[in-house]
Amino acid sequence: MDNIANLMHGFEVALTAHHILLMIAGVLLGVLVGVLPGLGAPNGVSLLLPLTFSMDPVSAIILLASLYWGALFGGSTTSILFNIPGEPSSVATTFDGHPMAKQGKATEALSFAFLSAGFGALCGVVLITLLSGWVANFALRFSSPEYFAVYFMTFASFIGLGGASPFKTVVSMGIGFSLATIGMDSVSGNVRLTFEYDVLLAGVSFLIAVIGLFGIGELLLTMEEGLKFEGVAAKVRIGDVLRTATKLPRYWLALARSSLIGIWMGITPGGPTAASFMSYAMAKRSSRDPDKFGKGEPEGVIAPETADHAAGSSAMLPMLALGIPGSATAAVMMGGLMIWGLNPGPTLFTDRPDFVWGLIASMYLGNIVAVVIVLATVPLFASILRIPFAIIGPVIVVICFIGAFTAANREFDIWLALIFGLVGYLFKKLDYPIAPLVLAMVIGDKAEDAFRQSMIFSQGSLSIFWSNALVGTLMAIGLVLLFMPLIGAGLRRLRGQGETRTV
């Protein structure tokens, strides 16, 4: 019941005219960022972050979180109308969303997408409301070895469950950790890995990495594809939206299943993209009529959208309660929290309850605001995509580099963004996952501190990671996640043998 009281207090914080205006601004910017190719949620948050340094943290996080919701919604708009996913996590929405739009059911597809997305997001937020206090309390028992074990678990699940080549995931992750160590070492005071270049003294900022990897890299890829926007015109009428809304309860099973998948993938760092694909695949497999999928089946829109948003919002739970971001965007936000002088993790709940519960309350409001705004502004944002890419592309480039510069007012960062852009292009083309790199950069220092302190406790013996039930369990889960592909293959082989024996 504590949670409910806290939440009510949170609503008091979030429900001010100033904060509602910030939500609206954030959602509008987010939809814009989500609609434009090359700009996505992680990027949008990175670009906006330097502008929030002078704001108070509660207002700043409300603005950034609303931008995140807006971007998730914007990505689905372009998927459905233009068959171009504005966000990687809305790729699965194109499979059935665009066919529906082409059949003249654009409004229905959009309404299904936004309403089910709103439902998924609210499921995620309800979960955060109920669980975050409990998780944070539990995590108060953690000391350095436990923290290191949780970081280990996070990256193990990237390697084991990520779907990309495990080697490539390790490369991406290791590069992130290496980059995080450049510059001043907070423990010994040494300046590390600068190779005598003064520009590296202050380290490499994760913001520059995100802007380069996600922004410039994505734009290069978009150019290479030579994309053309051939959209379906859409006008959204209230009547159509309401009619679609009455049809939504029919898909309760898909909604429930997709929310669960989304929440699971959001809490474990699977992320929204994996969640939407998994949910789509599950919906198709369990459907009585799988052939209809890909030809404009509403369930094929509902399933990925619900999971996408459920994952997006529940990714905030581990970020707030444990200090471990569940997605690339959450990682950037967590980096922002640290820049504002907050320490994400269990102590945040006791030190800054107004911040935590204000944010959680703003998630309820922000998502409702987002559904309304996004339905009202579909024609506006669809018309933005009719501006030719020859204009929009270079403008996005300019915005990305300006964002890179404003992050720390350093000339060197502009060059760095260009390098990260090229790396991002190469990595995306060759299926290197980028999220682990960003996550590793953000939590690199914390992971290193946790590791060093554990080593000091144990006088250099790795056995400290098995020294009590809690840390041992966490490490064991991490190892299971790490070797998941091997375990899966082993089980399949065993089952295969079992079947041949019965035949």
Partner: protein, 162 residues
């Protein structure tokens, strides 16, 4: 034309070199143990080492697949037409970066937008100039005046009294 095989190999070698550079850099700070716990080089040493090992893994795997005749590796990574499209975007972008650090970001923005619109987008001079100037003016007022954030400026802004 670059095949996927060579792109994979090239990238893996790049990441291998990166890993080794980090490993070498960490050795300077000691990777062992001293009175205050693990030495500062230990953590980056293992991170860089992981990168190098995993890059070797990718190299081995890719070469192994090549001998097994995996069809995906023979696919084009970048053909001439695509390569041209990427370069036509990348070169002006790189020029924008160079101009930004020499002439300042506002001047670079105007030159870059005019170039891409006029010579790549095929728009008229008036439309190109208007878009570029408006964008720069918008950025100026939004950043310098509203958010009080200064951008990199070159030799031209003081002449205009900005």
């Amino acid at each position: 034309m670059i095949t996927r095989f060579w792109a994979e190999i090239g990238t893996a070698i790049l990441t291998l070199v990166f890993g080794l550079v980090i490993v070498k850099g960490s050795l300077e700070f000691g990777i062992g143990w001293d009175s205050s716990g693990p030495q500062p080089g230990a953590f980056p040493f293992y991170a860089g080492g992981l990168v190098a090992l995993a890059s070797l893994g990718t190299l081995t795997l890719t070469i192994g697949k090549r001998f097994a005749g995996h069809p995906m590796l023979a696919e084009a990574f970048l053909d001439a037409a695509r390569g041209r499209r990427v370069l036509s975007f990348l070169l002006p972008l790189a020029a924008f970066v160079v101009l930004s650090v020499t002439l300042g970001m506002y001047v670079a923005t105007i030159l870059y937008l005019v170039f891409t619109m006029r010579f790549q987008g095929g728009y008229g001079w008036i439309a190109s100039l208007a878009t570029a100037l408006l964008t720069a003016a918008f950025l100026y007022f939004a950043l310098e005046k509203f958010f009080q954030i200064g951008l990199l400026k070159g030799p031209l802004e003081p002449l205009l009294g900005l």
